[in-house]
C-alpha cells in the first residue's frame, strides 16, 4: 500500500470513530469509564481530541512536516535541495510499550507505525489497558489489509515482550524512569529506542491578559485544561503562574476559576469522586488551614460535592504541588521568579499554556524554550496537541526511519 492510501484508510476510520453512534467508540467509552475511571464526557472529549488529529488531512500534514515529500516512504524521490534520490524505510518491527492510564498515545503510536509500514507489536499496561485493542478491532473490521501487521501481547506476558523487543529494530516505550531504564537494558545494540517519560505541564498568565473582560473566558479555558484528562496527563497543568498588578489580582482570578470549575464540573461529569481523592483533598485543606492559622496568605476553594476539584492559592506552591484534581495558583511579580521556580524541573518540562500579549509572549516563549519546554500553547488547548507536535521535543516519524541515498 502506498503511504497515501494508508493515510486515507486510517483517516476514514478516524471519521467513523468521530461518529457518536460508531459501536467501537461506544465500546471504548464504556471501557474508559469502567476501567480507567474517567467520566463519560471526559472519555468522549478524549476520543474527539484524538481522532480529530488522525484524519487524512492531518496525517498528510504530519507526513509532509516530517518528510517534506511523503512518497519517500513508497519509492526513491528526488530531494529538491540536494538533487539526490532518497528513500525512507520504516522499521521492520516496532515494539510499543505503554503504561499509565492516559490511553490516547497508544493509538497514535500504532498509527505512526502503520504510516511507516512497520509490523507493530504492542504491550499495554496490565493495570489499565486503555482501548487500543478496541481500535485494532475496528481496524480489522474496516481495514483488514492494515490490521494484519498489528499485534497485541497479553499485558502480563513479560516473556513475549522481551522476545519481541529482541527482534525489533525500534522500541517505543512510555513509562516512568524506572520502567524506561529497565527496558533500555533489554534493547539490542542495533535497535533504536524512543522513551517517553513522565513530564509536567503548567500555565503562565501575565498581567496584560488578566483584564476584567477576559477573566471569565480565561478561567473557563483553564477549567477545561484541568478537567479534560482528569489532570492525569503530562499535558495537564498542575500549577498556574499568575502575574500580579493586572486588572484582576491573582487571588481574584483564583475565585473566578473556582466558580468556573464548579460550573464546568457540574455540567460535564467529573471523574467519579472517590473517597480516596476526597481524603487527599481534605488533607491538603487541613494543611492550608494550619498555614492560615500561622498567618500565611493561602486560600482554597473546594468543590461541592467534595473531592471533585480543589483550587489552592499559594505563594509558596511548587511546580509539582498540584495533581489529582488540585490546581495550585501561584502569584509572581517578575518572569524570572517563574523561571527560577521551573529550574529544578528543567529536564521534565512539557507544555505551558502561555497567555500574554504580542511581543512579550514571544519573548517569554523564548525563555521557556531555553528551559526545555517543548510545547507552548493557548489556555484551553492543553489537551489538544496537534499531531505534528514534537512530542517530548523530538521529531515523531523522521526519527523512526532509516534512509537510502541513491546516486544516479
Amino acid at each position: 500500500m502506498t503511504v497515501d492510501s494508508i493515510a486515507r484508510t486510517l483517516g476514514n476510520l478516524s471519521l467513523r470513530w468521530l461518529d457518536k453512534n460508531f459501536p467501537y467508540r461506544k465500546k471504548a467509552i464504556r471501557r474508559l469509564v469502567r476501567e480507567s475511571h474517567f467520566s463519560v464526557e471526559m472519555a468522549k472529549a478524549m476520543l474527539d481530541a484524538l481522532f480529530k488529529e488522525l484524519t487524512y488531512p492531518k496525517l498528510m500534514q504530519l507526513l509532509k512536516s516530517e518528510f517534506r515529500d511523503p512518497r519517500v516512504l513508497d519509492e526513491f524521490r528526488k530531494d529538491p535541495v540536494s538533487g539526490r534520490w532518497v528513500r525512507a524505510q520504516g522499521p521492520k518491527r516496532i515494539t510499543h510499550i505503554f503504561s499509565g492510564n492516559v490511553p490516547n498515545p497508544s493509538t497514535v503510536s500504532f498509527v505512526l507505525g502503520m504510516l511507516v509500514k512497520s509490523i507493530n507489536v504492542g504491550k499495554v499496561s496490565s493495570e489499565d489497558e486503555g482501548f487500543l485493542d478496541i481500535y485494532l478491532e475496528s481496524l480489522r473490521r474496516y481495514a483488514k489489509k492494515l490490521a494484519i501487521a498489528n499485534f497485541l501481547l497479553k499485558p502480563s506476558d513479560k516473556k513475549s515482550t522481551i522476545a519481541s523487543i529482541r527482534q525489533s529494530d525500534l522500541v517505543v516505550a512510555y513509562g516512568n524512569n524506572e520502567t524506561l531504564n529497565e527496558l533500555r537494558k533489554e534493547i539490542p545494540a542495533a535497535a533504536h529506542f524512543v522513551g517517553y517519560g513522565h513530564r509536567v505541564s503548567f500555565g503562565l498568565y501575565t498581567q496584560e491578559v488578566l483584564k476584567k473582560k477576559n477573566v471569565e473566558k480565561l478561567a473557563e479555558k483553564t477549567a477545561r485544561d484541568l478537567w479534560m484528562v482528569d489532570q492525569r496527563g503530562c499535558l495537564s497543568p498542575l500549577t498556574i503562574f499568575l502575574e500580579e498588578k493586572g486588572e484582576t489580582a491573582p487571588l481574584d482570578f483564583a475565585e473566578v476559576l473556582a466558580k468556573n470549575l464548579q460550573r464546568f464540573f457540574s455540567t460535564r461529569s467529573p471523574a467519579p469522586a472517590t473517597y480516596v481523592r476526597a481524603v487527599a483533598h481534605q488533607t491538603l485543606i487541613n494543611q492550608c488551614r494550619m498555614r492560615q492559622l500561622k498567618g500565611e496568605k493561602i486560600s482554597f476553594w473546594r468543590s461541592d460535592p467534595r473531592g471533585q476539584w480543589l483550587v489552592v492559592y499559594d505563594k509558596r506552591a511548587s511546580l509539582l504541588s498540584g495533581g489529582n484534581q488540585v490546581a495550585y495558583l501561584k502569584p509572581f511579580r517578575k518572569i524570572r521568579e517563574v523561571l527560577k521556580a521551573l529550574r529544578p524541573f528543567e529536564k521534565h518540562l512539557q507544555a505551558v499554556s502561555l497567555e500574554a500579549m504580542g511581543t512579550r509572549r514571544v519573548k517569554i516563549a523564548g525563555d521557556l524554550a531555553k528551559m526545555g519546554v517543548n510545547r507552548i500553547c493557548r489556555a484551553g488547548q492543553m489537551q489538544n496537541p496537534p499531531l505534528t507536535w514534537h512530542h517530548d521535543g523530538r521529531p515523531n516519524l523522521s526519527e523512526w526511519v532509516t534512509w537510502t541515498d541513491f546516486e544516479k
Binding site: 495537564s236 476526597a278 481524603v279 488533607t283 492559622l293 460535592p305 511548587s318 509539582l320 521534565h348
Partner: protein, 387 residues
C-alpha cells in the same frame, strides 16, 4: 515540675473519676474540657473561631471542632506554656506540605506512633509534637484497657518487648506506654529487645525458647514480621506455654511489603504457638492519650472516655454505617492539648448493626488512604526525587 493550677487540678480529678467509674456524663465533661481548651490553647481557639464554633453554642460533643493531626506538626497545641511540659511525645516520619523547598529524602522510620504522611509538594522533616504537663491521665488511661484486653483472666506472665525502652526513645509514646505496662504489670522485670535501633531477634528467640511461664509479647507490627521472618529462615518453631499472648501495633506504614493481618497471625500461630484468639492489635496515636484494641471481635474498641466518629470525606458529615470514612476521635484524657482529633486513618462502622450493638461502640480500622491513586504520565514528586 510546676504544680498545676486549681482549675486544672479540679478538671483532672473529674476526668480521673470518669476513667475510674465511667458514667453517662461524657458530653458534659467533654464540653467542660472543650471550654478549658478553648480558653487556654491559643492556636486551638483560633482554629475554633475559624470553624465558627465556641463553647456555649454546641448541641453535642460531636460538634466540638476536631484538630487535624497535621496541626500537631504545624502549631503548638497546648493548654499550658510549653516550658512547663514534663513530657513531649513526637510522631514519626516526614510530611510533604505544599511549598517551595529543596527535596529531602524521606526520613528514617522511627519507632514512634502517629501520622507518617507522604503528600505531594516538597518533603520537610517535621514531626508532630504532643506536650504534657502531667502524665497522670495518660497513665490512668493505659492501665485498665491494657488489663482488659491483654490480661483479662490471669497473671503470671513473662514480658518481652520488641519495642525500644522509654529510656532509649524518650519521645515515643509507644515506648512510654510499654514502660507503664512494665512498671504496673511486670514489676519492671520485662525485657526490651530493641537496642540502639537494632532488633535483637536471636536473643529474643533464645529467651522465648527458655521461657517456662506464659509469655506476653508486645511488638510493633514491623518488628513482629521481622521476627517471624527470622524464625522462618532459621527454621525455629517456638511452642510458647499455653495462655501466652501477643500485642502488635502500628501496622507497616509502607516500610515493607505488607502482608495481611490474617497471614501474619497464621504465621504467629505456626512459629510462636500463639493462637489468633490470643493476639490483640492495638491502635494508638501520639496525638491521643488513650488507645484502642482489636481482639477476636473484629472491631477496634476504645474505653468509655474516648468516642469515635467516621466522617464521610465527600460530605463532611458522619458516614453511613458500613461506608468508609476518616476517623475522628474525642478523647477526654487529652486534657492538655485538644480532645477532638481528626485523623487521616480510614475506618468504617460495622454494617451489621447486631455486631455493633453487642460490642457497643467500635470501628474497623482500614489504615491510611493511598494518595493520588489516579496518576497517568504526569510527573509525581516521588519520581522527581528519584530521577
Amino acid at each position: 515540675m510546676r504544680p498545676l493550677d486549681t482549675e486544672t487540678k479540679k478538671l483532672d480529678r473529674e476526668i480521673l473519676g470518669f476513667i475510674r467509674e465511667p458514667d453517662n456524663q461524657f458530653q458534659s465533661l467533654a464540653f467542660k474540657i472543650f471550654e478549658y481548651q478553648f480558653n487556654r490553647n491559643e492556636n486551638y481557639r483560633k482554629f475554633c473561631l475559624m470553624e465558627k464554633r465556641q463553647p456555649g453554642n454546641l448541641k453535642s460533643w460531636k460538634e466540638i471542632p476536631a484538630m487535624p493531626t497535621v496541626g500537631f506538626k504545624e502549631l503548638i497545641l497546648s493548654t499550658f506554656p510549653i516550658r512547663n511540659a514534663v513530657k513531649t511525645f513526637k510522631t514519626s516520619g516526614t510530611t510533604m506540605p505544599a511549598g517551595p523547598c529543596l527535596p529531602v529524602r524521606q526520613g528514617q522510620a522511627r519507632e514512634t506512633r502517629g501520622a507518617t504522611v507522604i503528600r505531594r509538594g516538597c518533603p520537610v522533616e517535621s514531626r508532630g509534637v504532643h506536650f504534657f504537663d502531667t502524665l497522670k491521665l495518660y497513665e490512668a488511661a493505659i492501665v485498665p484497657c491494657f488489663k482488659k484486653h491483654l490480661m483479662p483472666d490471669s497473671r503470671g506472665f513473662s514480658f518481652f518487648y520488641l519495642i525500644s525502652s522509654p529510656e532509649e526513645s524518650p519521645h515515643s509514646s509507644l515506648s512510654y506506654m510499654v514502660g507503664v505496662v512494665n512498671k504496673v504489670f511486670a514489676k519492671n522485670r520485662g525485657r526490651y529487645y530493641v537496642k540502639n535501633s537494632k532488633i535483637l531477634y536471636a536473643a529474643l528467640a533464645k529467651d522465648l525458647a527458655r521461657c517456662r511461664k506464659k509469655a506476653l509479647i508486645l511488638s510493633t507490627t514491623f518488628s513482629l514480621k521481622g521476627f517471624l521472618d527470622f524464625l522462618n529462615s532459621n527454621k525455629i518453631t517456638l511452642n510458647l506455654p499455653k495462655g501466652s499472648r501477643l500485642m502488635e501495633t502500628g501496622g507497616f506504614k509502607g516500610r515493607v511489603k505488607e502482608v495481611s493481618k490474617s497471614e501474619l497471625y497464621t504465621e504467629c500461630e505456626k512459629r510462636l504457638g500463639i493462637s489468633k484468639n490470643f493476639i490483640v492489635s492495638e491502635y494508638g496515636m501520639t496525638e491521643l492519650s488513650s488507645q484502642f484494641y482489636h481482639g477476636a471481635s473484629g472491631v477496634m474498641t476504645g474505653p468509655p472516655w474516648i468516642k469515635t466518629l467516621v466522617m464521610d470525606p465527600r460530605t463532611g458529615r458522619e458516614a453511613k454505617k458500613g461506608s468508609v470514612g476518616i476517623l475522628r476521635h474525642f478523647d477526654l484524657a487529652n486534657r492538655g492539648s485538644v480532645l477532638a482529633v481528626q485523623t487521616e486513618d480510614l475506618g468504617r462502622l460495622p454494617a451489621d448493626a447486631s455486631v455493633a450493638g453487642v460490642l457497643g461502640e467500635g470501628f474497623q480500622l482500614l489504615g491510611r488512604a493511598k494518595d493520588a491513586e489516579l496518576r497517568g504520565c504526569s510527573l509525581s514528586y516521588e519520581e522527581f526525587l528519584n530521577s
